[in-house]
């Protein structure tokens, strides 16, 4: 079972990766965010029975992860966590679309199975891209990039605070559950107890929010968020974004998987 602490440790690890220093890490966060958004749009734009043509898109997260020196095991594990959710969404398709479109030897494959596979493939691709984006950029930098790309500042500040205090809240919650478990003497936790635990956590969070607000006011906060900006959108970033958009366009309009297949079958008669 994954405990709250394990989730927090996982998040911390993601945060650690973002502090490495590679070619990809040094790019302006905006370039990476734009490229990832283009990737998501391209992947989502295929029709619902596409599976093979999606596969070459894996090149984007793979190249970024390799250049950013991210550990494959960590990424695979976290992307794999999404499979059940994608399956839940796609699981009913095989029941609704029963006409057989393909035969693998004796095995008939219905359209529903193909669209289900397409949903899972898209989920894995987009999630992998998002995870790699955060791992090579860092969550605060992604927020900042989104803000500089036009997301309202309120949302950016909210996201940043959620991220900062998530760790504090998780620690707080973990301490409370541990204290509760120690005095529960092995009895299962009753809903009433859990409710009062959550209630006190909420109240503590509220008080903390008040103290943080005071601390911000004490440091001349007047409603606008001034931040240091260190990044520059230079030629390197423009090349990065244009190259990826070019590749996505290519992969979108030419089925590279099929072309390769055709090439192979012609070469090997």
């Amino acid at each position: 079972m994954t405990s709250i602490e394990a989730v927090a440790a996982n998040l911390r690890r993601l945060d650690q990766f973002a502090r490495a220093d590679t070619v990809i890490h040094r790019l302006d966060p905006r370039a990476k965010v734009v490229a990832t958004l283009a990737f998501v749009v391209a992947v989502a734009s295929f029709d619902k029975y596409t599976v093979a043509a999606l596969m070459p898109f894996a090149v984007f997260p793979i190249v970024l992860a390799a250049l950013g020196r991210l550990p494959v095991g960590y990424l695979a594990r976290n992307v794999a966590l999404a499979i059940p959710f994608a399956l839940v969404i796609g699981l009913f398709n095989p029941f609704f679309e029963r006409e057989v479109v393909l035969r693998l030897g004796p095995l008939p494959i219905s359209a529903g199975w193909i669209s289900c596979a397409s949903i899972v493939a898209r989920a894995l691709l987009t999630l992998a891209a998002a995870l790699v984006l955060v791992a090579v950029t860092g969550f605060p930098a992604v927020c900042e990039a989104l803000e500089r790309l036009g997301m309202p500042r309120v949302f950016a500040v909210q996201l940043q605070f959620v991220y900062r205090y998530l760790f504090v809240l998780v620690d707080d919650g973990a301490r409370s559950t541990r204290a509760l478990a120690l005095r529960a003497c092995g009895n299962p936790l009753r809903p009433r107890l859990i409710a009062s635990l959550l209630g006190s956590l909420l109240l503590r969070t509220w008080q903390r929010a008040e103290r943080i607000h005071m601390a911000m006011l004490a440091r001349a906060y007047d409603g606008t968020f001034h931040k240091r900006t260190a990044h520059r959108f230079a030629a390197r970033e423009v090349c990065f974004v244009l190259a990826w958009i070019g590749i996505f366009a290519l992969l979108r309009y030419y089925d590279v998987a099929q072309l390769l297949g055709a090439l192979l079958t012609r070469a090997l008669p």
Binding site: I212, Y221, H226
Partner: protein, 259 residues
């Protein structure tokens, strides 16, 4: 240098739930003083400190910082003058990295980015935390957090430093580091603490709060010699003024040659 002055005149504070936290508190602190505020839990120390930069406003009475009374109009000016180090550094460090956090105040004061960065660097070097600049706050130890929290305030170049429990929860070495920092500062310093030895070592003047009232206000050494006062206010002497459990020698007043 009159803006280093803090003057409380008959300040009372009643919380919305009706509990009275301060009753007619009058204190005057002058330039360069290091003043301790001590008292039992719930005596009103934190409430008093929160009045000094307008986080709370007095229900009755007046707070003056420098030449200005604390009002809505002078609030931002007074917050520039009074730097506040909160008790829990997790409340004070809210930005994604240490450097961003220290630069938050100077940027809000309207400094240019280069100036803010230079000030932040100076503040971090002052507290010996420059190497921590890229770390997120949750990876810092308690002592590091406390020192960075001090840097966030120092970077704003305040004239008056207010510290709530600067050494609570620190290991002996971190405690010494923080104390050495407080000792070095030239600011008017106001420290609320339960660390009586810190009070004896750093502060020449001590104010004792008891149930929202000022019970005593005077030289630290005199206050710690008044056993009846200490007992009444649920306090005790600094450990360094108590007897040695091994040799049985009672040192009434350390370094009392000068006093």
């Amino acid at each position: 240098m009159s803006h280093h002055l803090v003057d409380l005149r008959n300040v009372s504070h009643v919380y919305p739930d009706g509990s009275v936290a301060l009753r007619e508190v009058s204190i005057r602190m002058t330039h360069g003083e290091c003043v301790a505020i001590i008292g039992a839990n719930g005596a009103g120390k934190s409430t008093l400190l929160l009045h000094l930069n307008g986080c709370l406003t007095a229900t009755a009475g007046e707070v003056r910082v420098g030449d200005f009374p604390l009002t809505r109009n002078t609030l931002s000016q007074i917050r520039r003058t009074v730097g506040m180090v909160f008790q829990n550094p997790d409340d004070q460090l809210f930005m994604p990295s240490v450097f961003d956090d220290v630069a938050f105040g100077p940027l809000n004061q309207g400094l240019s980015q280069a100036e803010a960065e230079q000030r932040s660097r100076a503040a971090l070097e002052r507290v010996g935390a420059w190497l921590l600049r890229d770390k997120p706050p949750y990876l810092l130890s308690g002592g590091e957090k406390k020192r960075v929290a001090m840097a966030t305030v120092l970077a704003m170049a305040p004239d008056i430093l207010v510290m709530d429990e600067p050494t609570s929860g620190l290991d002996p070495v971190s405690r010494r580091q923080v104390m050495a920092l407080v000792k070095e500062f030239q600011h008017t310093r106001i420290v609320a603490s339960h660390d009586m030895d810190l009070v004896l070592e750093l502060c020449q003047r001590t104010i004792v709060l008891h149930e929202g009232r000022v019970s005593a206000d005077g030289p630290t050494r005199e206050i710690f010699r008044d056993d009846a006062l200490l007992a009444r206010c649920r306090l005790e002497k600094p450990l360094s003024m108590q007897g040695c459990p091994l040799c049985g020698i009672v040192r009434l007043a350390p370094e009392s040659g000068a006093a």
